[in-house]
């Protein structure tokens, strides 16, 4: 929305006394964000109103050689417009001026240059070049008796264009979104009222909702459902010149252009003007067409919900199919307009129009919002209607339109089934100050509210807790509860004037969230100790990805309005997303690396939570280049850091379809699925090297997390013994069995009462060697490191231990010492 500061200053004289930047700052901090400040005086710098002294056709061209009268005497300009002629007043952009149409973009600067051999100084401008409209058919013509914007005097040749037309102005580009609840501010009057309030002065304006307007019964209005159309007012006016447009540039053209609209015709300009001033959109029908469509002798206006599939050709020639949320204006039930959005072709005003019906109504913002979405109509009018224009002003604005248009009024009609009563809210000085944390006194509060049209009735008692009865003006559709009034006081007096404070709280530590704590710990281990890279990938994946990894897309919650097929299904696990990134980074030249992500997953087959919302689980997925053992080393390191010891790897339980069952495993405490990615899956990703992964549910992990009792590592003050042994075993012997057999050997001595005492042992695998692919045996080597807590081990004792090892491995797995 664009707001002219000059217009605001006209409506609020006090605004002229405030520095422009200060005024903008105040509007920004107390009403709405100002996105941009556009200085028109720069845009129209070096543009002048000039009299064309002579205009001679240049032979064999469409050009005219013109002499114009400037402040510094006659100047020559070549002009290509067909309407240039001696004696007319035009707008001259002098050399050095930037063509306003290009201002702020390419900033095209005019110069003295030669055209067909004739020197041309700047240019005579058309409406489009002045950025005041689209017309390019000729140059703008100025009324020779045009007065200055302030009405002071008539123009003379050479006067500044900007000064005459009030273009030395600042336009504010306003962020509409935060005014969604304030339909009144979508009109200049409403906006200005706020500015007055901000400046602490009472807003005074002639526009009143109280004026008595006589209505008749010559036009029948029937509203089928007052929820769809709370009020419908209209007037029948005799008007033969509805479509005329001024020959000369007018203040109206300028006014509309400042708001980003264009001058079109007398009637359209008037309705647009009033909409910009009051926020109330108006629409005009051709009276005779309206009556004839309905087949009656006089208008029968019926406002009703559309039927499904009902058709209507709109003014832009498009034929729309309505749905039941649309509201239609009908003539005796034949649709003539899509309410709030656009008029119908069948009642369009044309050159033969002699009477019009001018409509001023208000509709359900909810229905119009659906209309807007369904038919893609985003006009200035519907933007206002979808904020919920107050019903109170339809008739008063209609009355303003009648006065402006000056035609002969035949009839005014008004249907207002359930007149809206003003909102009355009880609040107190205490309530205001205790919510805001302020110390505003009663007179300040009262004046602040009254400045913008509230009525404040004060109980006689001077007690601050005593009631203030606040009556909201009828245009304030957003005031319902005391907090709404408190907001007004806080905002108009300036939130920035509220002194900051801190809540009191007892010195009780905030509760730590176990899951967040775990996540933080995992990130520290994975990134800092295991050198993995943390990723974030989208929560939505494609069906194709799910199919590629063997997940069932039908078990995923599917987004019905997704941006692309790539982002359609809520993911069931995170590993597939990481595989995609694995591929991308391998392609980018990275070789040995690991990726991980911690994020939420779910699927339809999981149950809903207590709020009947899908249960979401937080997963950690870790994907690395390399085989199972590469991943396993990382997993063990990670789990050890978390305090899990003695992990047992069991046969894979098949939880994730993309892990290769014979090269994957499952651990029990905690439950982790880990393994190599199936080669068929990798092929689909065009990855031709082994990739391994594990994925853990943190919600489960957290339940299994060992008590974080810090344990002193087992150490002995006696020297330790180191022995290397290599065992020859059958190829299919499980490593875990060999290891267990060795460990068991030490248990024999492992008690405090024994002669040797408790042993501290460290069994470290050194190598697993197989001579050839099909060999029946393999050699497994260990480095053993052990010490007694009680004494220095003697050679005989060491020998006895090693013999025990030999005996045990032979017994358990048939191993021979090599």
């Amino acid at each position: 929305m664009r707001i002219s500061l000059n217009e605001i200053k006209k409506l609020v004289p006090a605004a002229s006394k405030v520095e422009t930047d200060e005024l903008i700052k105040l509007i920004g901090s107390r009403l709405v964000e100002v996105e941009e400040k556009i200085d028109l005086s720069k845009k129209y710098d070096k543009s002048y109103i000039v009299k064309v002294i002579s205009a001679e056709a240049i032979p064999e061209t469409h050009l005219h050689l013109c002499q114009i009268e400037t402040k510094d005497g006659p100047v020559q300009v070549v002009c290509g417009a067909p309407n240039v002629r001696a004696g007319m007043f035009a707008v001259w952009l002098a050399p050095g001026a930037i063509v306003p149409q290009t201002f702020g973009e390419e900033n095209f600067k005019l110069d003295v240059r030669k055209l067909r051999g004739y020197e041309s100084n700047g240019m005579l401008a058309g409406l489009d070049e002045l950025d005041l409209g689209d017309d390019h058919s000729g140059i703008v013509e100025i009324d020779p008796h045009q007065k200055y914007a302030d009405g002071s005097r008539e123009i003379k040749s050479g006067d500044s264009f900007a000064e005459v037309f009030g273009l030395n102005d600042i336009i504010l580009d306003i962020e509409n979104k935060s005014l969604t609840h304030r339909p009144d501010t979508f009109g200049l009057i409403g906006f200005a009222r706020e500015v007055a309030g901000i400046l602490g002065v009472k807003f005074e304006n002639n526009f009143s909702l109280d004026e008595k307007i006589a209505t008749g019964s010559g036009i029948n209005i029937k509203i089928e459902d007052s929820a769809l159309c709370p009020r419908y007012s209209c007037a029948m006016i005799e008007m033969k010149d509805a479509l005329t447009d001024d020959k000369y540039l007018t203040f109206m053209d300028i006014f509309l252009a400042k708001a980003g609209m264009k001058g079109i015709s007398k009637i359209v300009d008037a309705t647009n003007y009033l909409m910009l001033m009051t926020g109330q959109p108006l629409h005009a029908f051709d009276y005779d067409k309206f009556v004839s469509v309905g087949g009656n002798s006089k208008p029968e206006i019926v406002v009703r919900a559309a039927k499904d599939g009902e058709e209507l050709q709109l003014l832009d020639n498009k034929v729309i199919k309505c749905n039941t949320s649309d509201v239609l204006i009908t003539s005796n039930n034949i649709p003539v307009a899509l309410a709030g959005a656009m008029g119908g072709k069948n009642t369009e005003i044309d050159a033969s129009t002699s009477r019009v019906i001018l409509e001023s109504a208000t509709f359900s913002l909810y229905n119009l919002r659906k209309t807007q979405m369904a038919h893609g109509i985003f006009s200035e009018a519907i933007t206002r209607f979808t904020k919920g224009q107050p019903a109170a002003q339809t008739l008063p604005v209609l009355n303003m339109a009648i006065k402006m248009l000056g035609g002969n009024v035949i009839e005014i009609a008004d249907k207002y089934p359930e007149p809206v009563k003003p909102s009355v809210v009880d609040v107190s000085v205490l309530a205001i100050n205790s919510l805001l944390g302020t110390e505003y006194d009663l007179p300040t509060i009262k004046a602040t509210l009254e400045n913008v049209g509230f009525e404040v009735e004060v109980a006689r008692d001077n007690n601050p807790a005593i009631n203030l009865r606040v009556t909201a003006p009828l245009w304030r559709t957003d005031i319902h509860i005391k907090e709404d009034v408190i907001e007004e006081v806080g905002r108009l007096l300036g939130y920035d004037n509220i002194s900051i404070d801190y809540p009191e709280r007892p010195f009780i530590g905030a509760k730590e969230d176990a899951l967040l704590e775990l996540k933080s710990k995992l990130r520290n281990i994975l990134s800092d100790k295991l050198d993995a890279h943390e990723l974030l990938t989208y929560s939505f994946v494609s069906k194709k990805l799910q199919e590629d990894v063997g997940e069932d897309p039908r078990d995923s919650y599917e987004i019905v309005n997704s941006i692309s097929p790539e982002l359609q299904c809520f993911r069931q696990s995170i590993t597939p997303s990481l595989l995609e990134k694995m591929r991308d980074n391998l392609k980018a030249g990275y070789q040995n690396f690991a990726l991980y992500e911690i994020n939420q997953v779910t699927k339809k087959s999981y149950k809903l939570d207590e709020d009947k919302v899908p249960m979401l689980y937080t997963h950690l997925a870790f994907v690395t280049t390399g085989d199972f053992y590469e991943m396993k080393a990382n997993l063990i390191a990670l789990l050890n850091e978390l305090g899990f010891k003695d992990l047992e790897f069991h046969q894979y339980d098949g939880h994730f379809p993309y892990m290769e069952p014979v090269r994957s495993a499952t651990t029990q405490t905690p439950h982790v699925c880990c393994g190599e990615i199936k080669s068929s899956v990798l092929k689909r990703f065009k990855i031709n090297q082994p990739i391994s992964a594990f994925e853990i549910s943190l919600d489960n992990l957290i339940k299994e997390l060992p008590e974080a009792a810090a344990k002193m590592p087992a150490l002995s003050r006696f020297p330790s013994v180191e022995r290397d042994i290599t065992l020859k075993v059958a190829t299919d012997t499980a490593f875990a069995k060999i290891e267990a057999a060795i460990a068991k050997s030490f248990v024999v001595y492992g008690n405090d009462n024994s002669l040797i005492g408790e042993l501290i042992i460290n069994i470290k695998p050194v190598s697993i060697y197989k001579a050839e692919e099909n060999a029946a045996t393999k050699n497994v080597s260990f480095h053993l490191d052990f010490a007694s807590k009680k004494k220095t081990l003697e050679n005989t004792e060491i020998s006895a231990i090693m013999e025990e090892v030999e005996k045990n491995v032979k017994q358990a797995v048939g191993a021979e010492i090599v």
Partner: protein
């Protein structure tokens, strides 16, 4: 004679000079001593340098600008990385946690009730349009803001309030908007929500808490300013701006829009079973992505979810 021995000789000779001190007039003795000490210090320094040079002479010098010695393998340091968004989020939560806020994570699928109804959005209200929500076939909504969690947080901690305490919770989460991705727009991003409810909560306290958060976060005193805003779930509602911090190149002139906040709407409290005539609260919500982008001067938000190691390994 080597240089070292030559210097040693000189030191010896100098030491002999000290004996002369007795022959000098008492008033000149001090000056004489200082002079000798100076000379000896200089000689000792010279000696040390000569000794160092002799040692280095027997060692092969290296090219300190090379990554490795000739014929040696270039050492490779393997280094993991943490996602900057998660790191920043941890820092944000840390500060709020120190201020006494509990933490509760947001969920990535929610429903219409938590997204709109519980937040006082009337059904069919145009304000719902502002959020461009995704929807699943079942009508679930990947939340478009972390405010979705307000209702749950209010309910969960209501007991604390009734026991004479306060509700103080921050809620981080991943949120989603149905919009096309470009350098400044992502359909997936992170927010942090906060709520505080007690008997005496004021608007001024909200300004204080949030100002203090940013001052802690940026490690300096900051001016703040406000802009009226509109959210159906707070009343009054504002946008909070902070002065551009020095660490981001601020010179006390620019402003940064950091978050939306306001006093919790009585209807929102009521819906969670909290008596709005007794308790008042404030709530806020702001983006995490923006904090990170500002901090590192990132101009393209798409890096965050790109999974590109070229980008991530720098963090």
């Amino acid at each position: 004679m080597s240089k070292i021995e030559e210097i040693k000789g000189k030191i010896k000779a100098l030491n002999a000079e000290y004996a002369k001190i007795k022959t000098i007039a008492p008033e000149e003795r001090k000056a004489f001593g200082i002079e000798l000490n100076k000379k000896r210090e200089a000689l000792q320094k010279e000696l040390q340098e000569a000794l160092d040079a002799e040692e280095s002479g027997s060692v092969t010098p290296i090219d300190i600008t090379a990554p490795a010695a000739e014929n040696a393998q270039i050492p490779e340091i393997k280094k993991g990385s943490k996602h900057p968004l998660m790191t920043e989020l941890e820092r944000v939560l840390d500060i709020y946690s120190h201020m006494g806020f509990n933490i509760m994570e947001a969920q990535q699928l929610d429903d219409e009730f938590h997204m709109f109804e519980s937040l006082n959005f009337p059904e069919g209200h145009p304000a719902r349009d502002g959020y461009d929500t995704f929807r699943t076939a079942e009508g679930y909504i990947p939340p478009a803001h972390t405010s979705t969690m307000q209702h749950r947080a209010l309910k969960r901690y209501k007991k604390d309030l009734e026991n004479g305490g306060k509700i103080a919770v921050v809620i981080p989460g991943r949120v989603f908007r149905n919009e096309d991705v470009d350098a400044t727009h992502e359909h997936t991003f992170y927010q942090c929500e906060g709520i505080f409810v007690s008997e005496g909560t004021t608007f001024g306290q909200m300004l204080g808490v949030l100002k203090n958060f940013f001052e802690t976060y940026y490690g300096q005193n900051l001016n703040i300013k406000t802009q009226p805003g509109y959210f159906p779930f707070t009343e009054p509602s504002i946008e909070l701006l902070i002065e551009k911090p020095k660490s981001l190149g601020g010179k006390g002139d620019g402003w940064l829009e950091m978050l939306g906040c306001g006093m919790i709407h009585p209807n929102v409290l009521k819906m969670a079973g909290i008596d709005p005539t007794k308790y008042k609260g404030f709530a806020w919500g702001g983006g995490i992505d923006r904090l990170v982008m500002l901090k590192y001067g990132l101009t393209d938000v798409r890096y965050f979810e790109s999974g590109k190691l070229d980008f991530l390994k720098e963090f």
